[in-house]
Subunit: 218 residues, 2 copies
Amino acid sequence: MTPSATPAYRRLSVEERRSQLLEAALKLFAHRAPEDVSLDDVAEAAGVSRPLVYRYFPGGKQQLYEAALRSAAEELQHCFDEPRQGPLLSRLSRALDRYLSFVDEHDTGFSALLQGGSVVETSRTTAIVDGVRRAAAEHIYRHLGVADPGARLRMTVRTWITAVEAASLIWLDEDKQPPVEELRDWLVEQFVAVLTVTASRDPQTAAVIGALAEDGRD
Amino acid sequence: MTPSATPAYRRLSVEERRSQLLEAALKLFAHRAPEDVSLDDVAEAAGVSRPLVYRYFPGGKQQLYEAALRSAAEELQHCFDEPRQGPLLSRLSRALDRYLSFVDEHDTGFSALLQGGSVVETSRTTAIVDGVRRAAAEHIYRHLGVADPGARLRMTVRTWITAVEAASLIWLDEDKQPPVEELRDWLVEQFVAVLTVTASRDPQTAAVIGALAEDGRD
């Protein structure tokens, strides 16, 4: 092939090449189980040679998977970015919309990652996932205006976050039924319902529920 | 050692020996992370030689762990056995009492198993855990008198089961606070609350909530 046949070709920087490989890997891992993705597939999808993939990820598939997962985790954490203005439940609703779009776009990878027993699961991948859960909880406390959440509020929020994950997995398993808007509204209502249960035993959570009710009246 | 020094000694049958080794293993796996249990520890706890452990479990620790897990899963499923009589929420409450005792007794093993990323986690261990979750859901449908649960009721029940698991892990993580009776009552109330949310969109769940309300009036 003569240079004129590939006029757009230019040498990528190390960072650009790395990003390009990660992006190709993430797309593959999004829709296939990790065991069904080979480095050959990644090389082919990125239009590069297999040795080049190994040069960037000498640890092979495991290293590539973890790097792709870290990049997905960052993307997922951006879903939670939401200005602290407007009714609280509308903010939650918008964050859930973004989260559920992410789940929709990374369906197979999301299931493989969270359903456990995957060949690429390690204490490091678990730590990355736990980091996302912790970030989600912190965002919620911040929006609720709670600086120092007590044990009962923490348990309620963390349990609800797990319920969101579980519902997302079931939703994927049920061919994405019910419609995503219904799922989102159901999750928001569950949030209020579980906080309300806790509120009867915990003054801090009762204050949060009070604020949510005020909020609805604005 | 002369025979008279061990008068109680008798040769165990294959099944008895297997049970004895499993029981010793389960006790060790209950309170230590799987990576901190060696076959030597199991041999020592059971008072037998390491080669004997290998004779029964030639697949080594992984095989022993899976066998111990299967035995724990059976024990856990017995927690759900509850006669179909008396108020529904009292039955749920009793089943949760047994479940939470199990969690209390197998604390470290329960966390290691469910928190993911464990060295002994495989698609087989995941399948065993999923079997327990499915059994729990089936028990609930039966008690609710629902022969053919629809997608919305299924999602609600399965999500609640995951929430119970998550709450149990958080409870262990928080040094078993709040008191177990409060946790149990909170989980029962959560069950009613999440079903109530679903009931507004799903006639089948609305009927279940109606029956629970009737029940409370008996």
